[in-house]
Symmetry: C2
Subunit: 433 residues, 2 copies
Amino acid sequence: MATSLESGAVFPDYVDLPHVVIIGGGFAGIAVARGLANKNVRVTIIDKHNFHTFLPLLYQVATAMLEPAEVAYPIRTIFGKAKNVGFRHAQVREVDHARSVVVLEHGGEITFDHLVVATGATAAFFGIPGASQFAMPLYSLADARRLRNRLLTSLEEADASADTTPISLNFIIVGGGPTGVETSGALSELIKTVIKRDGLRIDPTRVRVMLVDLAPRLLTPFPEKASAYAKRELEKMGVEIELGRSVVEVEERAIRFADGERMKVAAVIWAAGVTASGTMAHDVQPSPGPGGRLRVMPDLRLVESNNVWAVGDAAAVPLDETSLCPQLAPVAMQSGRHCAEQILRTIDGKPTTSFRYRNKGIMATIGRHAAIAKLPGGTVFKGTTGWLAWLGLHLWYLVGFRNRLRVMINWTWRYFDWPSGPRLIVADAETAE
Amino acid sequence: MATSLESGAVFPDYVDLPHVVIIGGGFAGIAVARGLANKNVRVTIIDKHNFHTFLPLLYQVATAMLEPAEVAYPIRTIFGKAKNVGFRHAQVREVDHARSVVVLEHGGEITFDHLVVATGATAAFFGIPGASQFAMPLYSLADARRLRNRLLTSLEEADASADTTPISLNFIIVGGGPTGVETSGALSELIKTVIKRDGLRIDPTRVRVMLVDLAPRLLTPFPEKASAYAKRELEKMGVEIELGRSVVEVEERAIRFADGERMKVAAVIWAAGVTASGTMAHDVQPSPGPGGRLRVMPDLRLVESNNVWAVGDAAAVPLDETSLCPQLAPVAMQSGRHCAEQILRTIDGKPTTSFRYRNKGIMATIGRHAAIAKLPGGTVFKGTTGWLAWLGLHLWYLVGFRNRLRVMINWTWRYFDWPSGPRLIVADAETAE
């Protein structure tokens, strides 16, 4: 048991309690810490950012509907009232299992009694040449801001070069899952709004928003009817859908397909899938499972470990005998809660129980007024009902009352189509000065 | 008169109208464009940022009270309904007076019939060694974000090193004018809130917020009584005031005073004054006036020019026979409006009139519930009355109804001391990924 202040105690009163260290302040890590708040342990969350990011709404930051601060929340503030939960703003270099110590990037070590790896996932580029370098993923606040700056800058450049050499205004979204569908719909709306409202000298017919996927239909986890509905709605919004098409190379301002076509682009947005490898210190587990996910036992403890756990996207959580849980927010939250319980049981000397994922359905929004939701029984909501369900659920899960209020105001604004929007090219300010 | 689309026309209908090009989208530039909106000219605003920044509230962005988007507004959106006003997202390289052309940094030229230089001012470092490199000014959105990141990161570092080598938590604000007074008050409040709410392991008595000025009193444009009041209020908030003290060098994490003292610091915030030099293409006027400000005639036309004008902080606007107007927002707005009128008069063949600054008073806020306002007659408001006047005025001048609403919500929030605040260290996300 850790006994010195040096190992990250929040208050001296907690020094003698078992120390649970959580790496990662995403849905899973926060759920673990919430489960341990005000219990008889002390907790330290380590994250390289001092804020928790609400990933499901990142695409709205990228498409200038929401501000970064509206989908992010300081981790310290989340646990302001839980005196046993502390935070450390740092990057992890390695985990020393023998000494039960987390070594930090810029010096310092944190001793743990239990370690929870909740480092999430990151974009998977499947080794496609140029993809990791030139395609733009949407997996962090920085990604979202970079993409927003690229979109708005492209439109400014198109306006500036209207009379000389027109630049390409092809926006390609790779990946027909929820992120790809949501982003392409929002992007198409953004561009139409900006051109119309801001008086840009751009012929709207020159702009192409194209959603590309290798699969024969969009949103494969949904029933076929829902996929067809999503396709129809997106096409109504001006999105071109190209299915059964694969990308073989991404260049700085171009994309090449397997059929040989090479197309100039303003941006390639990468929503093709995720991998857990690369988001954690690689000595957490020498040989992880599929997609770089950590192999865990049914109670979420790491295979071959007594006091290291893995949750959320970073873990290969068994769904049943043959398959793994999908990498979704509900799995992250549920596995985090389960892990917290098991750590408390272990400390109390009780046996642990197996994690079971309770599927509460999946959802995707397509634009204003159109969304689909699939409940476990198979019921599918679509249109306005689906959209309102989507709105309500996302507002509910946003951290912090102020963020909920602000997002609600922004959505209401957007719904009534008021002209303003946070269309600031801010990285510009970052680099230019 | 410009006649080709190439020179930046918004819509072909406006091509044959006289073209007014405005460099800079601050208070002054926006005021000129507003004065010309829907008149018989076409207007192009050039700015290196696609947004207008509300400078008087930058210190609130730096102290995590407001978000960047709440004090910034896209320039295109401001003029969305004025079809004769266009925007060009670019940096100016030079002005070719002989050809009446503005040459842009990344290629392209814009021909003008009238040119308005509204490039504002930037921090003046008075040649003090290290100041421009290590001190942090507050004159752009990027400055404000950088300062916020430094403040929050310093507190995280202090928390992380609480048990080893404690780092310095001295924050020095140089300059006892309104910016220095407002920033030091807000900074002191921020630090107290963060330490208390977020459970940082920092002894609050280790934190020093120090306001330094060479002058014998704060806020020299105000009467002595108001200066004394500001000093008292700041001291109540825990700010140390050191008057009659001058800085001779700034190092990366230290400051040296004329009396020989060298002090380790977490940050030096530079609010010591402004200069116009360096913010504009230096060939606008070969020999500008005091503080790098462009010498103008009483009608705001550049000395020795027929069709180039200067307004706001960039211009040496005569106040009376012996002195110049102060570099303040009201001067910028009033001179912008006057300039627009004179351009229209010139185009109509009418004689121009001289600019007269109508002094409506000055204001500074010290913290919650404390502000001072001085009306031209000499009346001074202070305390809550001054504070409410300050709130109202700043809300009124913020661009965009949505920003006003959001800022009002944030201030109300802050007033009632609700725990959350946008304390995100975002540059972190920028650089780390």
